[in-house]
Symmetry: C2
Subunit: 110 residues, 2 copies
Amino acid sequence: MPDKTEHLHGTLDALILKTLSRGPLHGYAIARWLEDTTDGALAIEEGSLYPALYRLEKRRVIEAEWGTSELGRRAKFYTLTPRGRAELRQRTEEWARFATAVSRVLLPAT
Amino acid sequence: MPDKTEHLHGTLDALILKTLSRGPLHGYAIARWLEDTTDGALAIEEGSLYPALYRLEKRRVIEAEWGTSELGRRAKFYTLTPRGRAELRQRTEEWARFATAVSRVLLPAT
DNA sequence: ACGGGAGACCTTGACAATCTAGGCATCGAT
DNA sequence: ATCGATGCCTAGATTGTCAAGGTCTCCCGT
């Protein structure tokens, strides 16, 4: 049972960039990887994923190229650009600051 | 310099509830308290705050009552209802799970 | 031979929540 | 007299996610 993904707002981009920082992947695989490595806590809907990828590509933080998936199917592979790496760093720091602040309020003296 | 508040999505309600769990406060004071205790990392825009309070009141997780602020001004004081406490617990847990998942992806091996 | 599920992509429309940018009123200090 | 802080409020635009659909191919079970 995945979490309310409502929180994703503003975080999905960073998650995608981070996923791609480990190497090129196609969209479907990005969603899979995120879901797997968080034990299902992060469920990325395809209706969120593909528009996000398109946004990121348009802003030139990722690049797309058609290729073939591990299972021999047509798939679009995304690669992180230098720009993307910079943005990832920045967004990661933003997240850290935000999460720290919220946790300080919500989970004090745990 | 406050953070991009874009992240707030879905978190603001919990923050407000938590703030009120320490005792009744008026809207302006809620924003102040959140801003202060997070060293400005959480800047709550009034255009987000008041609609949020209205939403929460309508859902009966908080109650409003007009009164007088510490500085002698007319102010609306909000109190957490039992329902609100329950929701706070639930949302806090949701946040914890979400934040843990995102951090695990974004800040691995820190 | 056929059906269904999984892999892989995409789009449309609705919705929810935040932000921007205003407005109003009172008070104290300069 | 004006300005900043206190305190409330609203309208509209923006944004991003979600739900729900659709397409095509491959593989597996029956």
